[in-house]
């Protein structure tokens, strides 16, 4: 069995990377994810982890280094935040296109502006459709677990895709939580060594990433589509195995909190859901029929599971912690995804979009109370009126 420690999300992730026994790590500093790398640097310096620790010349360089390392057959890890994430934009598609299952941790940060150190999911959501596995951890424990889960899912021969293991900056990356660090034997059982059949090896020479003619384009993209789709089954299997070996059972797609007989619910992802839970609990104590649904895996998006989870409510408030200007619905990415999942149910479930926590602001208890208040009103009257609300200005 493992040991329990009180550590931050950053240190939890670093511990998982160490347990995954990676060969190549590539760093570049940007808050708040930096803590992951400084902890890994310490582990390498202290001889706890045998890995090449490469100082990238920027995030673009980071993703390039791990691209090369993974193509050579190594398990590779990198990470970033905020504008660092978007600076490396060129590399995300080549990495998934080359089917290299490396991992990138993202501890969210706002883009510029406001450019502050605060958390926003905007950075990681910019990357959402590049053929990577993606999801958010809500606690330091889950940050550790996601790293192990994602390596296993991504490296599965049926998948072979890279992964963004996301956690909210500060609210997860810098909050201390009780984390059970599993022991090496458990991890070995869960995560077999990385083996890819297309690697750079002069004993079996291959040409990787040749330019294709247009007629090959549809087939190449369809292969990636199939890989993302086949990840669905692997994600479920991996979560089952994870629960069996480590004893922590996560719902692979959506976590439901107090949704039994709930009439209204919040749908969201990431660390602010912990705040939301306390509000749900308080409202339940007051007799309100409220609940929360937390999305755990964002890509591939679990359309069917979200639909099933949300269809039972009269009104759902979708909390978007990202700035998406001009988007349909006037709120954020999650609202559009949730509405797509509910498509066909007619007017049965009313959906409202709440943009909240931008710039790294807390989403406060008071704000969640206001959201539930609005949802209650909509559920009661059956009428929505304005459907998107930018907090704290519009609610």
């Amino acid at each position: 069995m493992g040991v329990k420690k009180r550590i931050s999300g950053c240190v939890a992730t670093a511990n998982a990377v160490k347990l995954a026994d990676v060969e190549v790590i590539c760093s570049f500093p940007i808050r708040p994810y930096t803590g992951i790398m400084s902890e890994l640097a310490r582990m390498v310096a202290d001889g706890e982890l045998d890995a090449e620790f490469v100082h990238g010349e920027g995030e673009h360089g980071q993703l390039s280094v791990v691209y090369g390392a993974s193509a050579a057959g190594a398990r590779a890890f990198t990470g970033s935040a905020g504008v660092g994430v978007t600076y490396a934009m060129e590399l995300y598609s080549p990495i998934s296109g080359e089917r290299l299952p490396l991992q990138m941790a993202i501890a969210d940060r706002t883009l510029d502006p406001p450019g502050d150190f605060g958390s926003e999911h905007t950075d990681a959501l910019c990357l959402r459709d590049q053929g990577w596995i993606q999801g958010w951890a809500a606690t330091p424990q889950e940050a550790l677990d996601l790293t192990l889960l994602y390596y296993r899912i991504g490296e599965d021969p049926r998948v072979l895709l890279p992964q963004y293991a996301c956690q909210d900056g500060y609210f997860v990356s810098h909050i201390f939580g009780d984390v059970e660090i599993p022991d090496v034997a458990q991890v070995k059982e869960f995560l077999p060594p990385y083996k890819n059949h297309h690697v750079l090896d002069p004993r079996n020479p291959q040409i990787m990433g040749a330019q294709m003619e247009p007629a090959m384009g549809p087939g190449m993209q369809y292969q990636r589509y199939q890989a993302v789709e086949s990840a669905r089954q692997v994600i479920e299997e991996a979560h089952d195995e994870f629960g069996r070996i480590f004893g922590r059972k996560y719902a692979p797609w959506v976590e439901e909190y107090m949704t039994d007989d709930a009439e209204i619910a919040i749908f969201m992802q990431g660390g602010h859901s912990e705040t939301c839970k306390t509000v749900v609990k308080r409202l339940r104590n007051l007799g309100e029929k409220v609940g929360m649904v937390r999305l755990r895996t964002f890509r591939p998006f679990p359309t069917q599971h979200v639909r099933e989870a949300l269809a039972k409510f009269k009104a759902v408030g979708v909390v978007d912690n990202s700035a998406n200007f001009g988007i349909s619905g006037g709120a954020g990415v999650l609202l559009t995804e949730a509405r797509t999942a509910l498509y066909g149910l007619g007017d049965k479930v009313k959906t409202l979009g709440f943009v909240a926590g931008l710039g790294g602001e807390m989403i406060t208890h008071e704000e969640f109370h206001k959201m539930f208040g609005k949802l209650k009103e909509v559920a009661k009257t059956g009428k929505t009126g304005k459907e998107n609300f930018w907090l704290p200005f519009e609610l």
Partner: protein, 313 residues
């Protein structure tokens, strides 16, 4: 250790850059690629940043290398090679592979080296990865249809530096000197050389010295481009030779902090002999040619060669 090749008869007969690629007839970069691959041998991995040597070699889902090759972006050849090198180091150390440490060679164009790829190149050399970075300098972004790079010479026509009444000389700027940039300021550098495809043995031996060095090595190859420089396809080597004989390009190496000239032209030829064969210079007026002569003379002096052709006529 790769041995010195003493004569043409001793050049390995095996090809690792095999027939079958869509480079133009008479392509200088293709010829130097073949020579580099020959000198390096079978235990080699090539990294190919976007450029002519990616596009013309791999279009249609195939390629002409009998050794492994990986595409890199035009931006990141140095970084991708760094990752491969780090991976092999760690995998060998941790007994995760029984492969021998390979030659890791980046084959980058001048734009992918001196311009958009400079950051990744410099970082790889700063970090000291055991790689060979080859720049094939055809003095333009050629696969996009001949646009200027920082190494395009003064006075050259490109589609981004056309000559016209207002800009009679075409390209107005003096080129970056990438080998000198690499030579000074990268303390981990183990070997650096310039080479020309017109001097094949010299080129191949420099490849081998670079690969034998335990650490980053840089090879800068002058590679004339019939299409971009506008000359007949059979003149590639002649133009390569003239570049060296006129002082437009110098052959030297740098090892253990010492420069060494590897070829000394017997007598410097006037710059006109080099430019008159190339359509890209056909618009130049005497005052522009004089500036080019000054440029060549200055470059010669920098490596300790006497310029014998006066720059003022």
């Amino acid at each position: 250790m790769l041995e010195e090749i003493k004569s043409l008869k001793k050049v390995p007969e095996e090809e690792y850059y095999v027939p079958g690629h869509r480079t133009c007839a008479g392509c200088g970069p293709a010829l130097q690629y073949r020579l580099v691959a020959k000198a390096a041998g079978p235990n080699t991995i090539f990294v190919g940043p976007t450029g002519c040597m990616y596009v013309a070699n791999t279009s249609y889902g195939c390629g002409p290398w009998s050794v492994p090759w990986l595409h890199a972006q035009v931006t990141n050849g140095g970084a991708v090679a760094s990752g491969i090198e780090a991976a092999y180091k760690a995998m060998i150390r941790k007994h995760k592979t029984d492969a021998k440490f390979p030659n890791i060679i980046v084959m980058a164009g001048d734009g992918a080296s001196a311009d958009i790829g400079l950051q990744a190149l410099s970082a790889a050399f700063y970090r000291g990865h055991n790689i060979l970075f080859v720049t094939y300098d055809n003095e333009s972004y050629a696969n996009t249809g001949i646009q200027t790079t920082p190494t395009t010479p003064y006075g050259a026509w490109t589609t981004f530096t056309p000559a016209g009444p207002v800009v009679p000389e075409g390209k107005k700027l003096m080129p970056k000197d990438l080998p000198k940039m690499m030579a000074h300021g990268h303390p981990a550098l183990k070997y650096l050389a310039t080479a020309s495809l017109a001097y094949p043995l010299d080129l191949m031996n420099k490849v081998r010295k670079g690969l034998n060095a335990e650490g980053p090595a840089f090879l800068y190859v002058h590679a004339p481009c019939p299409k971009g420089w506008s000359f007949p396809s059979d003149k590639t080597l002649e133009i390569g030779k003239l570049a060296v004989e006129t002082g437009m390009f110098q052959l030297y190496e740098l090892q253990d902090g010492q420069y060494k000239l590897t070829y000394r032209p017997k007598e410097q030829k006037p710059i006109e002999e080099y430019i008159r064969l190339q359509g890209r210079f056909s618009h130049l007026q005497p005052e522009h040619i004089q500036k080019l002569q000054e440029f060549a003379n200055q470059r010669l002096k920098e490596v300790g060669l006497e310029a014998t052709v006066p720059s003022v006529t």
